[in-house]
């Protein structure tokens, strides 16, 4: 972002380029553009570029000065590696479950009349505006051994009740899924609303049953939304801290919690920085995966055409 704003400043010393810059700087538009752009450039430099660069620097700085990859080796081995894998696992589980539930929800809403659809969307999205802390405690109250869910299950004499629904992976997944759901529903709903239902009528007129209609017409049309929703919720999950910390057990420690622990308890900034950079890289990897998926989709279509 900052790079593109700064881009016009040339590194070349060629006279032609120099005179072009001078001419460009003489123009009113360029000067007022630079003036208007300056605050945001400064803002981004101070609050975005500088912290990231300093984090990068911290993550490779040795205890006694000099550069080292020690912190990365540390972050990617032993218990820390396990935490990283846990984070990936929880993110994958959450994004898959929230996309499946989000798909069903969004589909149901997209079939409602506009007024009802708006109302239901409001109900789905409003919790998102409530503090995640409050929501998480809400879940804790609901899911505890003597919480509403378990009391009902016990009263119904469900075998095995009360279940352990907190301080384990189930608890974390329930919590994070509820946080991600508004995103996936919103994304999928927008895509589904854009699908021309008459295409399904066209498919029916040619003899397609419901299953074929869904598989060959509806699903391909909403597929981009599914990919987007999966990757987005995966990325959001990667750096998510609160719910896993409050609703998970020791085995559900995620990278964000580990960073918190290193900084707040061990005052170990270098290790924390390395973990942060790894999260950042994973996020970029997720985004690249999204682009890759799109490219594969496009080329598959090309091949299908050939």
């Amino acid at each position: 972002m900052a790079g593109s704003v700064l881009a016009p400043v040339p590194a070349s010393t060629a006279p032609a380029a120099k005179s072009r810059v001078r001419r460009s700087l003489r123009s009113r538009r360029t000067r007022s553009g630079l003036l208007n752009g300056a605050p945001i450039v400064v803002y981004m430099l101070v609050l975005f570029v500088y912290p990231i660069l300093s984090t990068l620097f911290l993550s490779v700085k040795g205890v006694h000065g000099g550069l080292t990859l020690h912190w990365y080796a540390d972050a990617l081995s032993g218990a820390n590696l396990a935490v990283l894998l846990t984070t990936l696992r929880i993110s994958a589980e959450t994004s898959l479950i929230s996309v499946v539930i989000g798909f069903l929800l969004a589909y149901a809403v997209s079939r409602l009349r506009p007024l009802w659809a708006g109302l239901v969307m409001l109900i789905i999205v409003v919790p998102h505006f409530i503090s995640a802390l409050v929501r998480t405690y809400g879940w804790i109250i609901l899911l505890g051994d003597h919480g509403v869910v378990n009391s009902v299950l016990v009263d119904l004499h469900v075998p095995g009740a009360p279940f352990q629904l907190l301080y384990n992976e189930i608890g974390v997944i329930i919590g994070t899924t509820s946080v991600m759901l508004p995103y996936t529903v919103l994304l999928l709903y927008a895509v589904m609303r854009g699908v021309d239902r008459r295409l399904l009528a066209a498919a029916a007129s040619m003899g397609a049953g419901r299953l074929v209609m869904f598989r060959r017409v509806y699903l391909p049309l909403v597929a981009p939304g599914l990919v987007n929703a999966t990757v987005l919720s995966f990325i959001l999950c990667l750096g998510y801290y609160l719910t896993p910390a409050l609703m998970g057990g020791a085995r559900q420690t995620v990278v964000a919690a580990l960073i918190d622990d290193e900084v707040m308890k061990q005052n170990q900034w270098n290790g924390a920085a390395a973990l942060g950079v790894i999260l950042l890289v994973l996020t970029f990897a997720g985004l690249s995966l999204l682009r890759l998926a799109r490219a594969i989709g496009a080329s598959a279509r090309q091949r299908g055409a050939a």
Binding site: L199, A202, G207, G304, A305
Partner: protein, 372 residues
């Protein structure tokens, strides 16, 4: 009637797939309002039938009931001898061409056309062969790999047409398929649709509000109004023997000349028009003395010397429309001019006194209060 040029490439394999269709007592109401009222008709195999009417006439609702997208309140729909009234659209096996094309945007042209064939479990080679065949027939060779959005509206509708006929449905339904295209393209596609329909012997039911289009395409036209069929006949019969004033008006914008039924001869009914002229018309059962309207198409009126016609008037307007002239002649004492369509070579001059002639067989009488 087969095309003189014979079958197009590969047409033989697709030919003769059309079946008959019968509709009886079809009725549909929406919230108590009658949309289609007891519509019955027999459509023969290989026939091109058009439902013609303005919006709200029930033509589209009738088509949707035949397709299965709208469930009738009562009535029976049969394709060939098979009763399909309660079947889901996908079980009827009909073809449908929509006004909005509705090609699948995520598939190529070839994949779109292959879709119904794949549903029918044809082998890959067979699908490819048949897709190639219809693409060639529609003049779309080389477009198979394109996406629908890369094609023009006319091309998209050609693809939609291919997709609807490639699996040889017994009846193809078309809902204003050319409604979104411009005039020139519409004319061109009309010719193509008609040619393909004839060559393959397709049974087509076509919905339109454009009477010219209906006349060009159809073997028979069902003129619909308020959920009822006013008349179901060949274009010629509709023109020459309109059964209702609405049909006469809708199909040719007929002149309606008010008058009083004066007398019946053996062959004609005589009408005294309000501005004094006496005109001979096709016989009408009403008794002399009744108020009637004499309907005559602008193209069926001729000019003659002032004294020779059934009435005399002054030429008010002369408008050239291509090879035709539209002429307005106002008889003395008439409220509005009588409209004529003449070959451009026979145009009169404005202000000229002329006589009007009409073959009595072209003048149809309607009772004044006659609704239908």
């Amino acid at each position: 009637m087969r095309s003189q040029r014979g079958s197009g490439p590969g047409a033989g394999a697709l030919a003769g797939s059309g079946k008959s269709l019968s509709v009886s007592g079809l009725r549909k109401t929406y919230a108590g309002v009658v949309a289609v009222d007891e519509v019955s008709m027999e459509i023969e195999a290989g026939e091109f039938v058009t439902f013609l009417g303005s919006s709200g006439s029930g033509k589209t609702t009738t088509l949707m009931m035949i397709a299965g997208f709208v469930e009738p309140d009562s009535g029976v729909i049969k394709v060939g001898r098979r009763d399909v009234t309660r079947l889901a659209p996908q079980k009827r096996g009909l073809g449908f061409v929509f006004q909005q094309y509705l090609l699948f945007p995520h598939m190529t042209v070839a994949e779109n056309i292959a879709f119904p064939l794949q549903l029918r479990g044809l082998s890959k080679a067979e699908v490819r062969r048949q897709v190639g065949q219809v693409l060639e027939m529609a003049g779309l060779e080389g477009y198979g790999r394109r996406r629908p959005r890369e094609l023009s509206g006319g091309q998209q509708q050609r693809v939609a047409l291919c997709r609807a006929l490639v699996y040889r449905p017994p009846v193809i339904l078309m809902d204003e398929p050319l409604g979104a295209l411009d005039k020139k393209l519409r004319d061109q596609l009309q010719t193509e649709i008609k040619k393909i329909q004839r060559e393959l012997g397709l049974t087509v039911i076509y919905v339109t509000h454009d009477q010219e289009e209906a006349l060009v395409l159809s073997d028979r036209i069902a003129v619909m109004r308020d959920g009822l069929i006013d008349q179901f006949d060949t274009p010629r019969e509709l023109f020459e023997r309109p059964r209702t004033a609405f049909v006469a008006d809708f199909l040719g914008a007929a002149n309606f000349l008010p008058g009083r039924l004066e007398n019946h001869t053996d062959e004609h009914s005589l009408v005294r028009l309000d501005h004094g002229a006496l005109v001979r018309a096709r016989p009408h059962p009403l008794a002399p003395g009744h108020r009637v309207r004499a309907a005559v198409q602008p193209g069926r009126l001729g000019l003659c010397a002032p004294a020779d016609g059934f009435c005399t008037g002054t030429v008010e307007t002369v408008t050239y429309v291509g090879t035709l002239v539209r002429v307005g002649v106002r008889p003395a004492g008439a409220e509005s001019p009588i409209r004529l369509e003449l070959p451009a070579g026979r145009a009169p001059v404005t202000g000229e006194q002329v006589g009007l002639t009409a073959d009595p067989g072209d003048v149809t009488l309607f009772g004044d209060e006659e609704g239908r």
